[in-house]
Amino acid sequence: MKRDANAARQETLLWIAQRASAAVLAVCVLVHLATLIYAVRGGLSAAEILARTHGSTLWLGFYSLFVLAVAVHAPIGLRTVLAEWIGWRGTWRDAFLLGFAMLIAGMGLRAVTAVFA
């Protein structure tokens, strides 16, 4: 019974995390696309973009948040896909997904630091 209660709590918290990260992503994607369209309307080179982003704490914070939201959101969604499509459930699946989350976060934050720091 205690184990059931723990599982219920864990599943519910994952669900909340996925909905909350989706809300963050909805805003991040819109800001990202709007900025993209605005910034390149006259044509921009990579060097010019880097010149603008270097040292900007605002964009560093924004894209770090974006990356972390993806790292939370995508593995939880993939968790359901793996369960429903290939029947993969249990600890090994969750361990694999934890690794996947860390990979996304690591690669994303590395890119963010390269562009902004």
């Binding site: 599982a7 219920a8 864990q10 599943e11 519910t12 429903e84």
Partner: protein
């Protein structure tokens, strides 16, 4: 309206086959009338299930031209394609024979979802007074008329993908009890309906809501459960 219907009916169990029958067509004929004609006039070995014939008992649901329906209240005109009808057992349930499914798993899940009312009063206590105008009572009203026909369960893709999923009817029932101010199972029920086999597995495809013959929206009930369970989890009560 053509004179006769070409009806293909599922015969046998899981590895059975569709068999063709020619059935005379009448005005205001229901799909259940068609099945009954086949059993009484053409093939007495056909197994199917029905009782009230007026949409109250929930026993005659079948898959008609690919769609789960209550057959006693479905006119042939509504379901027929040209003059073709294909009638099979409900999806997502084991077939006992022909059009009869084993509903045990469906109703066992009602019990797993704590679908039984648990009160705290005795016959010595005064009656509970529940205002029909209260928000909770109105939410119960929207979900209470379920007849347990299994149409939603048969129409649900998540049930097909995740055999442990409690399904729309059981979760809808749990929701009407969560909103019942007399019920005392509170957190126990929220725990029972949380997680991978419960409300969080619902993808909101809304097939249950589309197909429910009683016009209930189990998707809305399940969304209510998600909110209630989520609040309990955030408060640390779950």
């Amino acid at each position: 309206m053509s004179e006769s219907l070409r009806v293909r009916v599922w015969r046998g169990t899981g590895d059975g086959e569709y068999r063709a029958y020619e059935v005379p067509r009448h005005a205001s004929q229901t799909v259940l009338d068609v099945v009954t004609h086949i059993q009484r006039a053409l093939d007495p070995t056909l197994a199917y299930r029905f009782a009230c014939r007026v949409g109250m008992c929930g026993s005659c649901a079948m898959t008609v031209n690919g769609v789960a329906r209550w057959t006693c209240r479905t006119h042939v005109d509504k379901a027929v394609k040209g003059n073709q009808l294909e009638i099979g057992p409900l999806r997502n349930l084991p077939v006992i024979r022909d059009l009869v499914t084993d509903m045990r798993e469906f109703f066992d899940k009602w019990a797993k979802a704590r679908g039984k009312f648990e009160g705290g009063r005795t016959r010595g206590d005064d009656l509970a007074r529940v205002s029909p105008d209260s928000e909770d009572r109105k939410l119960i009203e929207a979900g209470i008329e379920c007849i347990g026909c299994g149409v939603c369960y048969s129409a649900c893709d998540v049930v097909a993908w995740n055999p442990d999923y409690l399904g729309p009817a059981a979760l809808n029932r749990a929701w009407t009890l969560v909103k019942d101010e007399r019920d005392t199972a509170g957190l126990e029920r929220l725990r029972a309906v949380a997680g991978d086999a419960g409300c969080h597995a619902c993808h909101s495809h809304m097939s249950c809501t589309e197909r429910c013959p009683k016009g209930i929206a189990p998707t809305a009930s399940i969304a209510g459960l998600k909110r209630a369970v989520g609040r309990a989890a955030l408060r640390g009560e779950l």
